[in-house]
């Protein structure tokens, strides 16, 4: 038995085991924690599959920020009504189990059949590798995301903004959560923040910069920024504010605007929309997206329309 297969099997077993824990765990809190662990294991799988961009994105977004958002929401439920928050009646029926097993079987069959059918690689993927040298980009995924399928990414940024707006609609105004961690007021925490936040910003910029040639890019960088924002919120250096400034709102729309310009600007010179503007323009649009993603996710975690300085 070769080592590669063994690693694949081990990773697969870990993933399935964690998924079972997420679904079957008695306590909701445990399920959330296991979900975060699942996300991290997923990142390992992506790395194993050679999709390093996805490993970075899933570790930061899928596991880290989703987990933080879930824990924050859970905490809000607990604050509102500790008893009801964790009551989770479930209807374990044989039918549900049967449906789930059938669905799993179906997906397995579909997947294996599709894999057996498929022998020649995807036409679009081959075209990407052919077109890549002309752009001077080293990372084909960045090319697909920002050049060839850049319009999808534009809409994706709009989806993020829309989700933020939706979260504003349903948010409880005037209820700013206080961080318990912040109330400890430890010197240690301040050291942590002083070390991590500049480093995180540096890492974000680094990810953004290398994203054109190596795994990385606006989404990974933005989520690292958001993680720094979450840390600042947790330690009370940033506080949720009841109103937002126009500057902050500008920061939130910057990403959509950036990639929107990438689409529209070529039209000014009579070229088709989204025609190639060069690496510099791409990097500019990506840095605007990074700022937006960081701001939006931080605000979503804060559950507030704006932020204020908590150190004063």
């Amino acid at each position: 038995m070769n080592v590669g297969l063994l690693i694949d099997l081990l990773l697969g077993l870990i993933l399935v085991g964690l998924a079972v824990q997420v679904v079957l765990g008695r306590q909701l809190f445990r399920s959330i924690v296991f979900y975060v662990a699942f996300g991290l294991a997923m990142a390992l799988v992506w790395a194993r599959l050679g999709a390093v961009d996805l490993a970075l994105a899933d570790a930061a977004l899928g596991a880290g920020l989703t987990g933080a958002l879930m824990l924050a929401a859970f905490r809000r439920l607990i604050k509102l009504d500790p008893a009801q928050a964790v009551t989770s009646g479930s209807a374990h029926t044989a039918l549900a189990l049967l449906i789930a097993v059938l669905a799993a079987g179906m997906v397995a069959t579909i997947g294996l059949t599709a894999m057996a059918l498929e022998s020649q690689p995807g036409a679009a993927g081959v075209a990407v590798f052919e077109a890549l040298p002309a752009t001077g980009l080293g990372n084909p995924v960045t090319g697909v995301l920002l050049a060839w399928r850049g319009f999808d990414t534009l809409v994706e940024m709009v989806v993020l903004l829309t989700a933020f707006l939706g979260a504003r609609v349903v948010a409880d105004e005037g209820w700013a959560p206080r961080s318990t961690v912040a109330s400890f007021d430890l010197p240690l925490l301040r050291t942590l923040v002083a070390a991590i936040v500049p480093l995180a910003s540096l890492i974000a910029l680094y990810l953004l910069w290398i994203g054109s040639d190596q795994p990385g890019g606006a989404f990974q960088a933005g989520s690292v920024l958001a993680a720094a924002g979450v840390l600042l919120l947790l330690t009370g250096q940033l506080l949720p504010a009841p109103t937002s400034s126009a500057w902050l709102r500008l920061g939130l729309v910057l990403g959509v605007a950036g990639i929107g310009l990438l689409v529209l600007l070529p039209m000014l010179s009579g070229r088709p929309p989204l025609a190639w503007l060069g690496r510099g323009a791409l990097l500019l649009a990506e840095s605007m997206m990074m700022v937006s993603i960081g701001c939006t996710l931080t605000l979503m975690f804060a559950g507030a329309p704006g932020l204020k300085d908590g150190t004063r």
Partner: protein, 92 residues
């Protein structure tokens, strides 16, 4: 030779992490568990990072691995401290 050193470092790293995990699962209360987790795991991580650095051999990789270890150290210190504080608050 290099491979042998790396293997030794790797194995000892794995041993410490394993010991830490056993400690977390078997020890009676939060403080003992934290003790086992943080001490043993940080040492284990350091050994594994060293093994990787030896295997790769480049200075850049070594420095990056060192940075990773320091960050993990920082994170585990602060989170262990917070957990301990929280546990003390609960028990009082």
């Amino acid at each position: 030779m290099v491979d042998l050193i790396a293997l030794l470092l790797l194995l000892s790293g794995c041993f410490f992490i394993f010991a830490g995990t056993v400690g977390m699962l078997r020890l009676p209360d939060v403080f003992c568990r934290l003790h086992a987790m943080t001490k043993a795991d940080n040492l284990g991580l350091l050994l594994i990072c060293m093994a990787l650095a030896v295997m790769d051999g480049r200075l850049r990789t070594t420095l990056l691995l060192l940075l990773i270890w320091l960050l993990a150290l920082l994170a585990s210190t602060v989170s262990a401290h917070l957990i301990a504080r929280h546990a003390r608050g609960q028990s009082q």
